[in-house]
């Protein structure tokens, strides 16, 4: 057993874990944070994406011991006061999900993109979500949602000219 201290969604935890325990299993089975799903066995699907010290990682491809001393944010930490972030609202408003299985990972990956690149083009959004698979939506509305969240955080509003222009680009 190895001792770890890790902060998850603002709460500090101290635990003894087996070195082979995956971060995603630690989150789900030990901490009960089942908002982060597991979608594959090959590190491909991205459903398990969380933030580790401020950057997106696939939590099925990180050991819990590797997160020792780190800060983890899961989808459950995005709206601590119950008030959705612009990104979450945009996913809702733009119908960016059907079954919702990919959504936690999509939100975390999109958050990562918008932090590095607050004004992405539709092509940049697609590239940034390359590691996140969705079996339902066909991605169009996910891309629209990320673009509209970018505009909203921008203060330029979700219905201005830019929004119309980028919606056109997406469908083109």
């Amino acid at each position: 057993m190895t001792h770890i201290s890790v902060t998850v969604d603002g709460t500090a935890y101290e635990d003894e874990v087996e070195p082979r325990l995956l971060l995603v299993h630690y989150l789900r089975d030990r901490l009960g944070l089942t908002g982060t799903p597991i979608g594959c066995d090959t590190s491909n699907c991205g459903a398990c994406t969380v933030e580790l010290d401020g950057v997106s990682v696939k939590s099925c491809t990180v050991l819990a011991v590797q997160a020792d001393g780190s800060e983890v944010t899961t989808v459950q930490g995005l709206a601590p006061d119950g008030e959705w972030t612009p990104l979450q609202r945009a996913f809702h408003e733009r119908h960016a999900l059907q079954c919702g299985y990919c959504t936690p990972g999509m939100l975390m990956a999109a958050r990562d993109l918008l932090r590095e690149n607050p004004h992405p083009s539709p092509e940049e959004v697609r590239r940034a979500l390359e590691g996140n698979l969705c079996r339902c939506t066909g991605y169009q509305n996910i891309v629209r949602a990320v673009l509209s969240a970018a505009e909203e955080s921008d203060g330029s509003g979700a219905t201005g000219e830019r929004s119309a222009a980028s919606a056109q680009e997406v469908t083109a």
């Binding site: 070195p19 082979r20 299993h25 590797q66 697609r126 996140n132």
Partner: protein, 284 residues
């Protein structure tokens, strides 16, 4: 799946890591970014008794200059390589190819050293290291040694690294003024290269003075397209480049898998070499 049980140590420095590896013998595995090792463990394709996590050794991370050479710490992540101003200025080919690796989350964890030590012939960076004539520096119980990239890769997933050696840095000769292009052909987004071509071109007076071409996934190891490189010397227009690229698959032994036959891979190598060299030479 759940990985098999193993012991775990997280050494604070290189010497401590090498000692841990030497004490454990064949049954230890280095853990860098874990983006290749953890999938293998999860699928129970590897059973190390000891995992030596070198991910927190600060001196293994980062990029510095040493005269005409860039020195890249083995633990520098793909993400940091892509964004590093020195890499972008002096080894643009490496930055461009690294951007084609996997996806952003994998690039946040995966490392340059891990990609080279893993030696997957479908990995994008081994062929780039060959084209750049990089040198890989390993540290073992007896000290350091520098291994030219062309001697480093010995077989499928095999390198000259001994079990108690740690890859510590990658030395890349600066290629200022050379044109470059990494062409990756993949079936879908985020997937491994069916074939990849890394081209570096030095032009002189409108002609190609020298070309270096590395091939991804054209055999059990990354390869140089030596016949094409020779034929490219002196090429002055797109037609000459296209003719030279016809020999890109010479001497290669590409594999067959669900997505491509050896013949198709040879075809891809020729087409991608033409595209990569034309782009690198600014003739495209």
């Amino acid at each position: 799946m759940i990985p098999p049980a193993f012991d775990y140590v997280r050494p604070a420095g290189v010497e401590e890591a090498v000692r841990a590896l030497a004490d454990a013998g064949e049954d230890a595995k280095v853990l860098a970014g874990g983006q290749s090792l953890l999938p293998l463990l999860r699928l129970r394709l590897a059973f190390p008794e000891l995992v030596v996590d070198v991910g927190r050794i600060p001196e293994l991370r980062g990029v510095r200059e040493d005269g005409d050479t860039l020195v890249i710490g083995a633990l520098t992540t793909h993400h940091d390589v892509v964004h590093d101003p020195l890499v972008r200025r002096h080894a643009g080919l490496l930055a461009q190819a690294t951007e084609a690796v996997a996806d952003p989350a994998v690039r946040h964890r995966g490392t340059l050293g891990g990609s080279l030590a893993h030696a997957d012939p479908a990995g994008d960076l081994p062929a780039v290291a060959l084209a750049l004539d990089a040198e890989l520096v390993a540290q073992g119980p007896g000290g350091r040694r520098a291994i030219p990239a062309r001697e480093f890769f010995t077989d499928y997933l095999q390198t000259t690294l001994a079990p108690d050696e740690l890859l510590v840095e990658i030395r890349v000769p600066k290629r200022d003024g050379w044109g470059f292009r990494y062409e990756k052909f993949a079936r879908v987004a985020q997937s491994w290269a069916m074939v990849g071509v890394a081209a570096l071109v030095r032009r002189d007076d409108g002609h190609i003075a020298e070309a270096r071409v590395g091939l991804t996934n054209m055999g059990a190891t990354p390869l140089r397209a030596t016949a094409a490189e020779e034929a490219l010397a002196g090429a002055g227009d797109a037609g000459a480049v296209a003719r030279a690229a016809e020999s890109a698959a010479e001497g290669t032994r590409p594999s067959r898998d669900a997505s491509a036959s050896p013949e198709y891979r040879a075809h891809l190598a020729r087409v991608l070499t033409k595209r990569a060299v034309l782009a690198a030479a600014g003739m495209g």
